[in-house]
Amino acid sequence: MNIFDILGPVMVGPSSSHTAGAARIGAMARTLLGEEPAEAKLHLHGSFAESGPGHGTDRALVAGLLGMKPDDLRIPNAFAEAEKAGLSYAFDTVDLRDAHPNTVVIEVTGRSGRTLELQASSVGGGRILVTKVDGVDVGFTGEYNTLIIRNQDENGVVAAVTTILNQLRINVANMSLCRSRRGGSALMVIETDQHIKPHQVSFMSDLEGILSVIYYDKEEEDDVSGFDESNL
C-alpha cells in the first residue's frame, strides 16, 4: 500500500471495493482476452451478489469490460454504453467455496470468438486479486507488469523464458507456475518491475513449448515533463 492508496483512487463512487475494484476486474478480463469483448457472463459471489446493484458493481464490471477506468464518468451509464459497443452481458449469482466475499467469475467471448474465464476478487481500496484464469489457480494483482504464459509442461520452457527476461534486463518481482496435469499445459505468471515491449512479448510467444502469451501492462505514471513545482 502506498500513499496514493490512502489518498485515492480517484474514482466514481460509491465504494472502492464494490465499484472501483469491480471496474478494474472488468478491465483486467478485457486485457487478458486481448480483444474487443462481444459477450460476457458474469457470476457474482458473496457480497458482490448481495449488494451489487446498490453499489453499481454490475455497471462497474461492464464498464471495465468496455475498457473504462475506475474514474470514468460513464460508469453509471455502462449498460447503455455496452449496447452502443455491441457487448451483450448476463448476470447471475454463484456460491463459490472459500472465495473472498467480493468475487466474480467472468466468462467472456471476444469478437473473433476467443474466450477467457477469469475469477477475481476485490480485496479493498480498489485493489484486486486475480485468482483463476481459465480454471487454473493464479494470484496476481495488476499492480505489476504481468506476463501470463501458457506453456507445454516440459523441461526447459521456464528456463527459456527467464533467460530472455534476463537478457532484456527485466527483473522478476513474483513468479508462479501451475500445471493442469503432467505433460499437459501449464500456466506461468510472472510479475516484473520493468515494462515489456510488444515485440518482446511476441518474441516470447514464438518460443518452443509456448502456447500463448498475454501481457498486462500496469498503468504508467503520468507524464510530468511540463510540471514545474515552482509554479504551485
Binding site: 489518498l7 464518468l73 505514471e221
Partner: protein, 293 residues
Amino acid sequence: MSLDSMSQIFEEMERSGLQFWEVVLASDMEERQVTRAESIAKMLTVWRAMQDAADSYTGRSRSVSGLVGGDGMKMRQYSIRGQAMSGGYVSEVIAEALSMAESNACMRRIVAAPTAGACGVLPAVLLPLCKYEELTQHQILEALYVASGIGSVIAYRAGISGAAGGCQAEIGSAAAMAAGALVALRRGTKEQIGHAVAMALKNLMGLACDPVAGLVEVPCVKRNVIGAVDAVSAADMALAGVESRIPVDEVIDAMGEVGRRLPVELRETALGGLAATPTGRAVKKRLHGPRPE
C-alpha cells in the same frame, strides 16, 4: 522509510531536519521509485480531482436508492444566508462534507480519502479554508502529504476499512488525517500534529459501521460531517496548546483493538445498528425485494 508509526516520522524529522510532509514525500519516492516531480504532480491530480468534484456538485443527483441527494445544497444555502450557528467556515465545512459524500453515493467522481465512504472529510476542511486564508497550492499539497502519511500509519497499525474496524476506522481515520493536515497548514509543531491526530481519533473511537441496506448512504453521508467537524475542533485544540494525554501511536493501536472487538454486526455487514432498525430493514426490503429468511 516505511510509515509504520507517528513517532518514527517524528524521529526522522529530527534526524533529517525535514518537515513532516517532506518525510512522507521521500517515503513515496522510495516506495514507488518515482522522482520528486512525479510524486508532487500526482498529488496535484488528487487535489484537482477534489476541486473538480466540489465544483461539479449541483445538488440535483440522487442515489440509486433515492435515500441520498440534495442535502449539501440545502446546507450551502443556509450557510450563504448567514443563518448558521456554526458561522462561516464551519458551516461551509458541513456543506462541503455533505456534498462530497453525496456525490460518492450518486456515482460521481470523488477521491477515496482514505475510503470512498469517507471521501468528504478531508476536502471539506481544506476547500473552504482556501477562501478564508491565503494558501498557495504548494501549501495545500504539503497538507495532503501530511494527511496521506497519517493515513498510512493508521492503515498499517489499525486498518482503515469499515469491514475490519467499523466506521471509526473510516471516518475516524479521515478525521485524524484532516486534523493533522490542518495543523500542518497553520505551521503547527510535529507534537501538535500528533495531538490533533490523537484527539480526532479518540473522539470517534468505537463508532459502528451500520449502513442501511449495505449502501454507502445512510448514515455514511452525514458521518462525513462529524468527521470533518471533529477534525476542525481537534486541530484548533492542538493549536491552542491542548494535549492528548494518551500518545498518538497508542491511540491508533487502541482504535485497532476496539475495531477487532466490535461485533461483526457492526462492521459493514448491515446486520446491526441503524441497518437493523425497523426503518432500516424496511428500506432494505424495498430495495432488494422480499427474501426468505
